[in-house]
Amino acid sequence: MKRTGWVWPGVTGLVLGLLALGPGLAPGFLLSFDMVFTPGPRFSAMTFGLTGTVPRHVPSDAFGVALAHVLPGDVAQKAVLLGIFVLASMAAASLVPTRRVVPRVAAGAVYAWNPFVAERLLLGHWAFLLGYAALPLVAGAAARAAEPGGGRRLTRALVPAAIGGFAGVAVSALVAGAVVLCRPERKRGLAKAVAAVVVLSLPWLVTGWLRPSGMPGAPEGVGAFAARADTPFGALGSLFTLGGAWNAATVPPGYGTPLLAVVWLVVVVASVVAFARTRTDGTAGLAIAAGAGYVLAALGVVAAPLLRGLIEAWPGFAVLRDGQQYVAPLAVVVAVGFGVLADRAADRRLDALGVLAVLLPLVLLPGLAWGAAGRLRPVHYPDAWARAREIVRADPVPGDVLILPWATYREYPWNGGRTSLDALPRYLDRRGILSDAVVIGRTVVPAEDPRARALDPVVRAGGPLTARLAAHGIRYVAFDAETSGNAYYARLGGAQRVLADADLVLYRLPDPARPREDSAPAALAGTAWAVTLMSVVWSFAASGITLATRSLRHPRGKAP
């Protein structure tokens, strides 16, 4: 493909990204569920998964912090989010076997603008979406993995997924594995694919594997995180139409109404059929990955006891809990098939249909537009948070920060009451400890952080807190919600209130013990990072422009 062939899909992705974020592009941070960016973040032990917590945020937090050293934090966030749309559109376009622009743009539009992207975006899974965006590139690179230079190409394609951590890598590994196994010289291709996946996973693999308290599986979360119906077609039909995320609050407004859902279902079915009739390198593997991914996505719905049993046998299977993520390969199939349909329309000189096809995703999913109809609104952190950071930063006495109320998620009034992960652990420079137990309806997925588990009985019990918290190495207690007349204040006798504001109250405790924290060995984690970064540099060295090579070869070329 000519390098200019990327321009229109890229521009389309950018326009879709601008449309999706809308007012969210204004100055400020978008805090939605798991998406937390902060101003002026610093690297810390937590960034690299060296605090004993489960390293789900590795290496995405490090990527975010590094980016925020180059750009203001909120600008970095918007750049990443827009980049997802641009990359997704360009990557999907690369797999459509035609030289015509409109069909490739149509494929890019469907891949960048669908229920999967909308629900994961609202859920705040930006790092996972980076891997999703590059998934078509992974498929294309895997198809040629056995060729000279194939290892480098595949490693490059996997870098966005690697930023997403284990969920992103798991989905990409599924696609890469299925595609290389369906190609000639599968042994060589598979060896390269496994090597690339393992090397890029080292930062979280090492810190997770060597975590002293092991990896929790929490099989009780299977039901809570299973796919749910967001269309009239039930959970399985919703997954097939690329929706079905577990959280009801992430369904875009207006999505799933019968008429639009039926039209979207017809589009998906027609696209899948069109893809099935397409013969290019890698399509067989991609089809298998999509099928396998759909089965994995449905496990929590149709075989919850099996999934629970698997997780009890080996906690690593917990990566299948939030199963809807695994329909991502199906989204690639739908996008490419949609592009093929648009190409066939062009074959029949129905160019206008192709142009309308580009607009169809927007028509069928209007709720993603304009900041997901207002759900993505930029906010500024309260001034009190900045003052707290200065106070904590200026204090030479070591010690951690206990964050109350004792819960993981918040509905800050300054964030419009929208649910978001508590941002304070990433905002302050010190280790923040909060209860990382997750509450979904009536299900409680137990806390995983050993420090939170150790402090849980202390916090929940009555009586004075100050001395007992100090004995656990706590220097500060921060209240970032329920700041007015909190009952805990009376339990902090002897502690000094150093900040009192409606948005944040901060207490300083005297004579904290030196905090002790078991984590993976820092030297090994550092080595893992070095190996991964070197492999990334190696993959890009002398590669020219990464996206300028055709990802999937097609046997026949067509005039643009």
């Binding site: 809570a224 009801a248 207006g254 109404t257 993981t408 998620y409 997750v438 509450v439």
Partner: protein
């Protein structure tokens, strides 16, 4: 013939867009759901 197909597709697209806009407006006017504090969400 091509013009007729494009016109039909255009009308269909416009109808879907109108329907989508109405659904969107309806969804935004629903009563807010009272959510439990500090939860990750509900199914």
């Amino acid at each position: 013939m091509r013009i007729a197909i494009a016109a039909v597709a255009g009308v269909l697209l416009a109808a879907l867009a109108s329907f989508g806009a109405v659904q969107l407006a309806n969804a935004s006017q629903q009563e807010p759901v009272i959510k439990p504090l500090y939860g990750y969400g509900s199914r």
